[in-house]
């Protein structure tokens, strides 16, 4: 069971990469169409309020890709940190650090 975990993780990463790539390609294709519409809209009306986040599809997709990658990285790092915590707690229980101090 434990040996299968890296396998599923790798499969998960590959599926994610595929989805991210496909999504990006799809959005790039839509971008050309949307940009034209956006320009006309901007020329027609000068907005009074500037919205915080970028509105075009490509950048919005980028935000989602960054968001997913960020959480994957955090989960992986937390996983390794938990292993390290278990290890140092075990060493502490064996009084390894107090022996080191002496």
């Amino acid at each position: 069971m434990i040996r299968l975990r890296p396998f599923f993780l790798t499969i998960g990463f590959l599926v994610f990469l595929l989805i991210a790539w496909a999504g990006n390609t799809y959005c790039s294709a839509q971008l050309t169409e949307t940009q034209g519409q956006l320009k006309t809209f901007q020329e027609e009306k000068e907005p009074e309020k500037i919205v915080g986040a970028p509105q075009d599809v490509k950048q919005r997709t980028g935000i989602w890709v960054f968001f997913i990658w960020m959480w994957i990285s955090i989960i992986v790092l937390v996983f390794f940190l938990r292993l390290k915590i278990k290890e140092v707690d075990r060493l502490n229980a064996l009084r390894f650090f107090s022996a080191e101090k002496k």
Partner: protein
């Protein structure tokens, strides 16, 4: 090779004392240990504030004509400018929220008692500096909302007898909120407050290290049984997990809920409807609103401001009012903490209705 470099640096910098201290320092492990993480989390958000703030300064122009336009440029033209601004704004809120949680946890666990009175006072001062950071930063985009909120906010000290008018004038740099106020707030925000904060932070951290981490009442009774873990590496690794999760939450919110920018403030225009300060001032804002115009021979506003000042002074000197020895209970002080939280929540929600 690595050891040679380290010993070369140690001979010159003498950091063996610090590393020695960190390896010997221990952290108590009990059911309230979670509160110990709030201190370093505040520090984390402060560092994020400094880094993103520095990036924003590169493009921000603190003048009446350019302030709003430069923020608009940061948001629309500068690569990733919108996310830097969003992270800066949200991390300020995170930091202040954690400062509240940190102080409340100390209040409830009575960790301010002897010999940690000065640690509490320096912490309370840090909270005031953080709030002032938020207040001065709010005006900088110079849009309709921030302008009107600052106008209301800087008008509040006027209600204080004798020195009120002078304090308002000092804050604004004149009679009204003008370009001078903007420049003044910018200077305070990026120069004076950071200096104060760093000095107070250094004092606070020194005091925390000097007095050690306090034990809550339940753990103090069974001190011989209390478990301890080394600060390095056991506690630091745990803190890293908390930091990672907090950074994840911060970026998630900053990505999907970035602050917008209203049109440039018009000094001559009437105040727009629905002016609201930042969330951490809402309960004070509502407190001022519920007071009637006149109570006996004083104005309601004056009375409200004086009461708020009195509460701040009481909060600051709490260890002197509750000076029982550590380890004894103080039900009234705990009850006051819960009442304060409830009051702040009710007032904040009320002001949003």
């Amino acid at each position: 090779m690595k050891n040679r470099i380290l010993s070369w640096l140690d001979e010159r910098l003498g950091w063996a004392g610090i590393t020695n201290f960190l390896t010997k320092k221990t952290v108590p492990l009990h059911k309230h240990t979670i509160w110990y993480y709030t201190g370093s989390a505040i520090l984390l958000f402060f560092v994020i504030q400094v880094v993103t703030g520095f990036m924003l300064i590169l493009y921000y122009k603190p003048t009446l004509e350019m302030a709003n336009a430069s923020v608009a440029r940061i948001m629309t033209e500068i690569p990733l400018g919108w996310i830097i601004r969003s992270v800066h704004s949200w991390s300020a809120s995170f930091m202040i929220a954690l400062v509240f949680v940190h102080l409340l946890s100390i209040w409830i666990t009575k960790s301010y008692r002897k010999p940690r009175e000065l640690t509490w006072m320096s912490g309370a001062m840090l909270m005031l500096v953080s709030l002032f950071f938020g207040f001065t930063g709010y005006l900088l985009p110079w849009d309709d909302l921030s302008f009107s909120a600052t106008k209301v906010g800087t008008d509040i000290p006027r209600a204080i007898p004798v020195v009120g008018a002078w304090a308002t004038q000092l804050l604004r740099g004149g009679e009204d909120v003008t370009g001078d106020t903007l420049t003044r707030f910018f200077g305070i925000h990026v120069c004076i407050l950071p200096i104060f904060l760093i000095i107070l932070l250094a004092v606070h951290i020194y005091l925390v290290q000097k007095q050690g981490m306090s034990l809550p009442l339940e753990a103090e009774g069974q001190q011989e049984k209390a478990r301890e873990i080394p600060f390095w590496p056991n506690f630091v690794f745990r803190e890293m997990v908390v930091w990672l999760i907090l950074v994840g939450i911060l970026f998630s919110i900053a990505l999907f809920f970035p602050p917008s920018l209203e049109k440039p403030a018009d000094v001559m225009a009437p105040a727009p409807e629905g002016i609201k300060p930042e969330w951490y001032f809402l309960f004070l804002f509502q407190t001022l609103k519920i007071f009637p115009a006149h109570i006996l021979f004083v104005t309601g506003e004056t009375l409200a401001v004086l009461l708020i000042l009195l509460a701040v002074v009481w909060f600051f000197f709490l260890p002197l009012f509750d000076n029982k020895p550590a380890g004894t209970r103080g039900k009234i002080v705990t009850l006051l903490a819960y009442v304060f939280v409830l009051y702040a929540l009710i007032m904040s929600v009320w002001s949003l209705l």
